[in-house]
Structure formats: structure tokens, C-alpha cells
């Protein structure tokens, strides 16, 4: 079987070489970069615009953004037919291609987030390094001390002045990072929007739609993860006390509903923007009815009706919109709302990537995508359900590791 044949079903006339080449990993990629961009923008809302209520979630979303970052190229590595040649994009970039922008943008963004994290946590690194040097014992502590010493980059000064310049640097980087984060995801939209050969993808609105839905997904994920992580932390706290035979003297604070509500407002703004642009695109296509409209209409309104109107627009946009606007918000409603938003954003990526390959370039045939569930080969493992779950779960594993070094709660300051 040729690449793409095992998960493609052709109907009527499809060009012989046409298969669904951009499969689940290409759906995952903009989804992951969208989360990265959105998480960063959320964190910047605090650092740059000083929205004080977002302080707790800002630290969390910055570390989470960093955990998401290495997971963004992961779907690409799993998709490439020659993954070992992935560095060629950095070595001989062909900038007439939107994908070549990946190298520069990704590296720049990575350096900005890493630097910003360094400035935020430098005080913590110094404190931990000193603490481990004085009170540490055993190999693990020795290694940990070495790690924290390395992470200080030799900058041990934790005076008021030094910490103040740290804050100024954070503010600068957070501001500089916003356009880069937008570009990180905007270029992904450009990758699709500039392909004149694809009747569904080709629209100048694509980069803007992608950016808006990226911010939506990033904020939604941060709200959701924040609520879940706080709940987990409380659970573990109670269990630790129980183990020591003690009672919890006071209930630990749950996720602050006020913070969550304010964050959700920003989410709604971008949600409205994203859906407006998508509906605008749809209306224009139907109104102008160019050559491709006949086949696109059948894909959008018939074959993919449920995926687009029920899952993406209905469950992913309308229902969360109502849920998050209802008076007297509760954490449960917010959790359901953000989960639905994430489902909606995922379906948007699916409907663009897979939807764009649901019809043949001949406009005289259809292709159906069957996501491989049980892996029967390396190809169906990488570009199947398992590959997708691996990419989806990796940020949490990384976040767990990173939060050992850069904790998001009870940070020790020098």
C-alpha cells in the first residue's frame, strides 16, 4: 500500500495519485501550536497588561506553554516520511514556503519563552541551589543542586535591584512574545490559506481564523488545566496529611472562581471573533458560488454536516458560549464549557485539514478518512489514534517534569 492508501476511501472520480496525505498528525500540529500560542498570550495578559487577578494562572500558563512547546513539532516528526532529515528545514530553508518559517519562528518563540521563564524563576533557582548546597544529602540532592546551579547561569545576585530588572525583562519578553506567538500560529494558517490548489483552504481569512481559534484553545486549556491541577494538588495534600495521621486543619483553597470567570471573558471575546470569521467565509463561498462550490457544498452541508455544524459550531461554540455567559458561574460549568471549546477547536482543525481532502482536485469525486485505531504497521501507529494520544498526553508528562524544577504553586523566593 502506498502512503495514505490504507486510510483513504475513494468515491467517484479521484485522480489516481490522490490520497489523504495530511492525516491526524497534521490535525494535531495546529492544535498543539494553538495551545502553545494561547497559553503564552494568557500569561502575557498578566505580565504586560497587569491584569492582577491573573497572577496565579499566569505563572501556571507560562510553564505549561513551555511544556507544550516541544510537543508542537512532535506531530510533524511523526508525520514526515523522512523524519531524520527534519533539520533540513533549518539548514536550507526555502522561505517562499510557509513551512520554512517554522524553523525561525519556532526557535525564536522557544528562546523567548525559555528566557522569560528564566527571569521568572531565577530567584527560585538561586534559593533552591543555596538550600540544597547547605542542607542537601545524598546523590539525588547533589545532582539537583548541580542542576539548579546550572540554571542560575551564574547570576546569583538576588537583591531588590536585580529582581526588579528581572521583572522588567519579563515584561519586555512577554510583550515581544505576543506577536511571535501570533506568528507561530498565524503562519500555520498561512500554510493552508495560501494553497491555491485546494479550494477549501484557499482564503485570506485562514491565518486570522487560525490565530483566533488558537488563542481560544490556549485560554480554554489553561483554565481547564488550572482547575484540574489545583484540585489534584488539594487531593494530594489531604492524602499526605492522612498518611501522617493528621487531619487537614483547613480546606485548601480551590480554584478561584473569580480568576476563572475573568479569564473566561477573554476566551469569549476570541470565541466570538473566531466564529464570526468562519461564518463569514462560509457565507461568502455560498454567495459567490465559484466553480468549486458545487463539490464544497456537498462536503460541508451533506457529508461533513455533523462534524461541522453539530460538533464544531454547536457543541464547540454555541453551547460553551451559553454556559460561560450564564449568571452565577460555577467551576463545574466552566469545566464543561472549556472542554467543549477544546473539542470545538479540535474539530475546526479536523474540518479544515481533513475536510480539505474530502474532495478530489477533479471536483468530481470524494475521499473519506478512516482514522486507524488498531496499529497494524509503523505508519498506522504514527498516523493513527495512538500517535494522536501520544502527542496529546505528552505536554502533561513534560509539565509534571518541568514543575519539579519550576513549581507553579508555593514558589520559594530567595
Amino acid at each position: 500500500m502506498v502512503h495514505g492508501e490504507v486510510w483513504t476511501l475513494k468515491e467517484f472520480f479521484v485522480y489516481p495519485n490522490e490520497y489523504i496525505y495530511w492525516a491526524i498528525q497534521i490535525v494535531m500540529y495546529p492544535f498543539m501550536t494553538g495551545l502553545v500560542a494561547g497559553a503564552f498570550v494568557l500569561s502575557s495578559l498578566y505580565h504586560v497588561f497587569g491584569v492582577k487577578q491573573l497572577k496565579e494562572i499566569a505563572r501556571f500558563s507560562l510553564v505549561f506553554s513551555f511544556a507544550l512547546l516541544p510537543c508542537a513539532p512532535l506531530p510533524l516528526l511523526l508525520h514526515l516520511e523522512q523524519p531524520l532529515r527534519n533539520t533540513y528545514v533549518l539548514m536550507t530553508p526555502h522561505f517562499t514556503s510557509a513551512i520554512a518559517a517554522f524553523g525561525i519562528v519556532f526557535m525564536t518563540y522557544g528562546m523567548i519563552v525559555a528566557s522569560e521563564l528564566w527571569f521568572v524563576y531565577r530567584g527560585h533557582f538561586v534559593a533552591r541551589a543555596i538550600e540544597l548546597k547547605e542542607k542537601g544529602s545524598g546523590t539525588v540532592d547533589y545532582l539537583a543542586c548541580g542542576l539548579f546551579t546550572l540554571l542560575t547561569l551564574g547570576a546569583w545576585d538576588v537583591s531588590e535591584e536585580a529582581l526588579h530588572s528581572d521583572e522588567k525583562a519579563v515584561k519586555f519578553l512577554a510583550a515581544a512574545g505576543i506577536p511571535v506567538a501570533c506568528f507561530l500560529h498565524g503562519y500555520a494558517g498561512f500554510i493552508f490559506g495560501s494553497v491555491k490548489a485546494n479550494a477549501l483552504w484557499m482564503t485570506p481569512l485562514m491565518p486570522v481564523i487560525f490565530i483566533c481559534s488558537a488563542i481560544v484553545s490556549g485560554i480554554a486549556l489553561c483554565i481547564l488545566s488550572y482547575i484540574v491541577v489545583v484540585k489534584l494538588r488539594n487531593h494530594m495534600h489531604v492524602r499526605l496529611l492522612k498518611k501522617a495521621g493528621l487531619q487537614a486543619s483547613e480546606k485548601l483553597q480551590g480554584a478561584d472562581i473569580a480568576i476563572v470567570t475573568i479569564t473566561a471573558r477573554y476566551l469569549l471575546i476570541f470565541l466570538v471573533l473566531a466564529i464570526s470569521l468562519e461564518l463569514l467565509d462560509l457565507i461568502f463561498r455560498g454567495y459567490t458560488a465559484v466553480k468549486s462550490w458545487e463539490i464544497l457544498r456537498r462536503v460541508i452541508y451533506e457529508r461533513d454536516f455533523v462534524k461541522i455544524f453539530v460538533l464544531q459550531y454547536g457543541l464547540g461554540n454555541l453551547v460553551p458560549f451559553i454556559l460561560l455567559l450564564l449568571p452565577r458561574p460555577t467551576l463545574r460549568r466552566v469545566v464543561i464549557g472549556t472542554v467543549l471549546v477544546l473539542v470545538g477547536v479540535f474539530m475546526m482543525r479536523w474540518n479544515v485539514v481533513i475536510g480539505g481532502q474530502a474532495f478530489s482536485g477533479s471536483f468530481a469525486g470524494f475521499m473519506e478518512y478512516r482514522l486507524p485505531i488498531i496499529p497494524e504497521s509503523l505508519e498506522t501507529l504514527k498516523e493513527g489514534l495512538f500517535g494522536a494520544l501520544f502527542v496529546a498526553g505528552m505536554p502533561y508528562i513534560l509539565f509534571f517534569i518541568f514543575s519539579r524544577v519550576m513549581p507553579v504553586f508555593d514558589v520559594k523566593e530567595a
Partner: protein
């Protein structure tokens, strides 16, 4: 009231400002650019397909697969032939069974999942065959979107893929409006028709051109005014596929009608 100094300053600014866009016009003078481009190259490969002559025997596809080491049973091909059947009640059936590797030996149209559609002789209004291959466009969108410079155009107009450099992202495959590209099942890099570049380099013609018994496929040099292919392209009524995409394809068709996708 303006003094002389101010007037001179502003006049220079305005004159300079006007001169700038005018200078740009000079830089991008289309006739000059064309002359510069044309004078350099003596060779530009161009292909001619005569759809009146194609009988759908598929010898071209078979020859192409063997000549270019595309696994015979793989469901991809550098070139293929499409059959268009238009019935009296106005329906169009298009098929290309196995890329026409084994020719067309039945009047039934292969509609993939929708099954084989029996078309009786009495229902036939019009039917013909259309061979297709890479158009080696003058403005190849596939080359434009390659992120690493693995696919490129040679000075004589053929678009090639560097098998050692391609990372297999598939952007070029998505970027081609004609659907001629695919992933090579053995090398796992992008692949497509290259007019049998290895044969052209030895003074031979493409394998499909040699294989076609009816002369439906011909190759020539667009820069040679005495070339018989060039003469037909410049003097007779020929057409190209999907001209609206601005790709400037260099495969010309005689008898290309509106039904062709």
C-alpha cells in the same frame, strides 16, 4: 509664505517621491524581463497531447512504470489516462482504473466505492481519453511551497525532486493543482513525472512518447521554432489544464474540452 529654501527642499522631495514609483516601473518592465529571460535559454521542454489520437491502450503508463522504477502493482503512477463518457441524459462518467496501467478493456466505468457503472452503447453521447502527466509548469506552485529546496526547476524547464534531500512533508503534493505528485512507495519521498529526464539527457524521448503507437504524446523544444511540436503549439488551437491557477503549464492539449477536470 514659503521661502526659496523651503520650496527647493519640498520640490526635491516631491520629485524624488514621483521618480521612485516610476523607477520601479522601469525595473519591472515586462518586455525587458522577457527578453532577458528568453535570450538565456536555448532549450525548454514542452509536451503535446492529442486527445483525438489516444485510444486508452495504457502502453504509456506501463512503459512509464517500468522505465522509472515505480512498483508495478502500487496504486500510483507518474502518468495516467482518464476516460470521459458523456451519456445522452447529460451525465459525465470519469474513470482511470489503475491509472489505465492495463488499458480500458470494458465499457463499465470504475467509480471506486460507488462501484462499476454499466454504460450501454445506445446511451453514449460522447467519449474520449485524456492522458495526463506533470505539466512542468513555468511557475510551479509545488516548487514554491517546498520548505527545504528538495524540489526545483532546471534551466530547461523540468521540475525534479532531490530524493536525498526531500523530508517527505507532502506540501508539494498538496500544492499541485493537477494531482500529479505522490509519495514513492520505496524511497518514501515525493515523486512525479520528470519527462524521463534521464532519457532526455541521452538524446532520447520520454518513455511514454516512444510507447504511444498513435502519436498522441509528443515532446519538443519550445525554443526551437523548427520543432514540429512547437509549430503545432504556436499555430494550432491548443489548450492547457486549469489555466486559471496561473501555473503556466507546458503540456499542451489538442482537443481539450470543457468536461476535462
Amino acid at each position: 509664505m514659503m521661502n526659496r529654501r523651503q520650496f527647493c527642499k519640498e520640490a526635491m522631495l516631491i520629485a524624488g517621491g514621483i521618480a521612485l514609483p516610476l523607477a520601479a516601473l522601469e525595473l519591472f518592465d515586462p518586455t525587458r524581463l522577457l527578453a532577458e529571460k528568453e535570450s538565456g535559454e536555448k532549450l525548454r521542454w514542452v509536451f503535446l497531447v492529442d486527445t483525438h489520437k489516444c485510444v486508452g491502450c495504457g502502453f504509456c503508463v506501463k512503459a512509464c512504470k517500468i522505465e522509472n522504477d515505480i512498483p508495478y502493482d502500487a496504486h500510483v503512477s507518474r502518468t495516467w489516462v482518464e476516460r470521459y463518457i458523456i451519456t445522452k441524459n447529460g451525465k459525465t462518467y470519469i474513470d482511470s482504473p489503475n491509472a489505465a496501467r492495463d488499458g480500458f478493456t470494458t465499457s463499465k466505468s470504475d467509480q471506486n466505492l460507488a462501484g462499476m457503472v454499466e454504460i450501454k452503447d445506445e446511451e453514449l453521447e460522447k467519449a474520449f481519453f485524456v492522458p495526463k502527466l506533470c505539466n512542468q509548469c513555468d511557475h510551479p506552485p509545488c516548487v514554491q511551497v517546498c520548505p527545504v529546496g528538495a524540489t526545483y526547476q532546471t534551466a530547461d524547464g523540468v521540475v525534479l525532486v532531490d530524493r536525498k534531500w526531500c523530508i517527505g512533508c507532502g506540501y508539494c503534493i498538496m500544492g499541485c493543482p493537477y494531482g500529479v505528485r505522490f509519495f514513492h512507495p520505496v524511497y518514501h519521498v515525493a515523486e512525479k513525472c520528470n519527462f524521463c529526464y534521464h532519457r532526455l539527457a541521452k538524446g532520447m524521448k520520454s518513455a511514454c512518447v516512444d510507447a504511444c503507437p498513435f502519436g498522441a504524446r509528443r515532446i519538443g523544444n519550445l525554443r526551437d521554432p523548427e520543432d514540429p511540436v512547437t509549430k503545432i503549439i504556436t499555430t494550432e488551437r491548443v489548450n492547457v489544464l486549469k489555466e486559471q491557477y496561473g501555473t503556466n503549464p507546458q503540456v499542451f492539449y489538442v482537443g481539450l474540452t470543457m468536461e476535462v477536470k
